[in-house]
């Protein structure tokens, strides 16, 4: 175990973007208030001063414009990395993402590279007003032509961003807002992922596999720490939600015989359902008990005063795990 690097997520992403801009003349950043202001979360702070207004572009306040014209920029051979200000504002861009960006490579019979990255600050726990705390990763994960990834550490965000800009097809990167500036985080196993597109085992354990992603991964790790050594949890940070790395999950479930999926987005028709179904199909014989999912019930993200009731807590995770091993 190593303790987390003290550099917060936002600073790591900033450094990675700077390095990509430095090394790759095709890369440019596009988003609302990302230049002069440095982004509402200051993730792009200082980049416009360094790389100029042409390459770090303050876009119009119109999400369909951001993604729609970025499709054209990408067609021209550039590699736009867009920022949507908040998850809840990504919906005006959904048409351009789903019917256009996600389909263009196929529409062109594979004869075009569409390197287009859309960063979406996501999730709650920040006392956000309406539309500022949503988790819409499962919506995009449903779209065959879009890859969806949800890194939960700076190290992963760095690896994933560098990979995403070279994929030649659109990638949605959800970034956990509440981890942007957090410096103290639970320790993780210092074991690299098998590849930039695979899941990552961030804690080893023999009793229960917990598959999770995003900010809540830290709560799962805290629960694991609390239960150890009486129950040892293996924590799989899925990272990529589309396509999912089921190999890593299935190998883990084969070892532990138990699977719990935890996520911040609502449970219904969510990523957890997909992971659970895939393990039922391919890993059923290894299971010692029913697969469980822990996620908020189907309802709108509440006003800030009620978000603690909505969010899955460390206690709920430990309780769920104990229910599986009793």
């Amino acid at each position: 175990m190593s303790s987390r690097r003290p550099t917060p997520l936002a600073e790591t992403i900033n450094a990675t973007l700077a390095d990509l801009l430095e090394r790759n003349p095709e890369v440019l950043l596009v988003g609302e208030d990302i230049g002069r202001l440095g982004g509402v979360f200051r993730v792009t702070r200082g980049l416009q001063e360094r790389f100029g207004r042409e390459r770090v572009r303050d876009s119009l306040l119109a999400e369909s414009t951001i993604v729609g014209h970025a499709v054209g920029l990408a067609m021209s051979g550039l590699v736009p990395v867009c920022e949507i200000q908040f998850d809840g504002f990504s919906y005006p861009a959904v048409n351009q993402l789903v019917t256009q960006a996600g389909r263009i490579v196929n529409r062109w019979n594979g004869d075009i590279r569409l390197s287009l990255v859309v960063r979406i600050p996501s999730g709650g726990g920040i006392r956000g007003v309406e539309h500022h705390s949503e988790s819409n990763e499962a919506l995009f994960a449903r779209v065959p032509g879009i890859s969806v990834v949800y890194p939960s550490t700076g190290e992963d965000a760095d690896q994933i961003l560098r990979h995403a800009v070279g994929m030649g097809s659109p990638v949605v990167i959800c970034e956990p807002i509440r981890l942007y500036w957090r410096r103290s985080l639970p320790g993780r196993l210092d074991e690299p992922a098998a590849s930039p597109t695979s899941a990552r085992i961030v804690r080893r354990g023999a009793d229960v596999t917990v598959a999770t992603f995003g900010a809540i991964t830290n709560d799962v790790l805290a629960a694991a720490e609390a239960l150890s050594p009486s129950v040892e949890i293996e924590v799989v940070d899925l990272r990529w939600l589309a396509p999912l790395d089921m190999t890593t999950v299935l190998e883990s479930v084969t070892r532990t015989g138990r699977l719990l999926v935890v996520h911040e987005a609502t449970k219904d028709v969510g990523i957890g359902a997909e992971v659970a179904a895939a393990v039922s199909e391919s890993g059923f014989d290894a299971l010692k008990c029913a697969i469980r999912r822990l996620a908020p019930e189907r309802r709108d993200y509440p006003p800030a005063d009620f978000e603690r009731d909505y969010q899955i807590s460390v206690d709920q995770i430990t309780e769920e795990v104990l229910g599986m091993v009793k």
Binding site: L60, G77, P92, R103, D111, I112
Partner: protein, 297 residues
């Protein structure tokens, strides 16, 4: 740019492309009736606007079409069998978009307008030819993306020529119920210079598009031309326009057929003669036969 008159060679080229487009369109309609095509969106009535504009903007312009630009595609050199392939369910795009600088059809209305503006911006950033032509129909101008694209093109001063073919109908909704101003007026509201012209005279269309293309290239700023065209058939082979459109209007539009009108005009002026027309007819017949063999079997 002076409004010079077109050479006889160019006039013959325009008419030839219009006649070929008409023949291919007619064959596609037949093939759809026979079940060989799943759908066809006829461009009959819009040939003058499409052929005139495509020839005017030149081969270097990158074209972002909507989905009814068959005459434009054929004039750009897209082979007829490749044009039809997607409507027979064989592909989403039958031609090589790079080779023709004619990008795939976009069926989600106005989505391509933002791509066109972004493409032009990206080309300019890379110091490459940034002249882009975006085709859009009147119905699509109601989409938010059209307004966003016009605004973006204006504030970025993008080298984009928007060509709006206003055929009077958004499927079954007439233009009068779609908008209170013309599209050309709307463009000016965004700070884009524009003009409104009849789209049934290919020579007028050609002259206006040459002028507009010069404007875009020289000023490196967008321009919009709205062309009033007739829609001879329904929106697609799936709608019977008799259900929502007056018989008189349908007959009037058919009678104002720009292909017949231009054929008559060039014949009268002795720019073409019966022998020349027979030559093109035979070319069209061969083309139709090839399409039938390829798709009806």
């Amino acid at each position: 740019m002076q409004a010079t008159s077109l050479s006889d060679d160019l006039k013959r080229s325009i008419l030839r492309h219009m006649l070929i487009a008409r023949g291919v369109d007619e064959e596609a309609r037949q093939l759809q009736k026979q079940g060989a095509l799943d759908l066809w969106l006829s461009c009959q009535g819009q040939e003058a606007a499409q052929v005139g504009s495509v020839l005017a903007v030149g081969p270097e312009a990158t074209i972002f079409p909507s989905y009814r630009e068959h005459a434009a595609a054929l004039t750009r050199g897209v082979p007829a069998d490749e044009l039809i392939a997607q409507w027979a369910g064989r592909t989403f795009c039958g031609w090589d978009p790079w080779d023709r600088r004619f990008f795939p059809y976009t069926l989600v209305l106005a989505a391509q307008t933002l791509h066109g503006v972004g493409y032009s911006m990206g080309r300019r950033m890379q110091k490459l030819d940034d002249f882009v032509v975006v085709y859009v129909g009147d119905g699509a101008t109601s989409e938010g993306d059209m307004s966003e694209a016009m605004n973006l093109a204006a504030v970025e001063s993008a080298s984009v020529l928007f060509i709006c073919q206003n055929n009077g109908w958004a499927i079954s909704k007439p233009t009068g119920e779609q908008m209170l101003t013309t599209v050309a007026e709307r463009a000016r509201g965004f700070g884009i210079e524009s003009s409104l012209i009849p789209g049934d005279d290919p020579e007028l269309v050609h002259r206006e598009c040459v002028r507009a293309a010069d404007h875009v290239r020289n000023r490196r700023a967008p321009y919009l031309i709205e062309m009033q065209v007739g829609r001879i058939h329904g929106h697609s082979t799936s709608d019977a326009q008799e259900l929502y459109r007056g018989e008189e209007d349908i007959l009037r539009t058919a009678a104002a057929d720009p292909v017949a009108a231009y054929t008559g005009r060039l014949t009268e002026l002795n720019v073409v003669d019966a022998e020349w027309l027979r030559g093109v007819e035979s070319e069209v017949r061969d083309l139709r036969e090839q399409l039938m063999k390829r798709y009806a079997s």
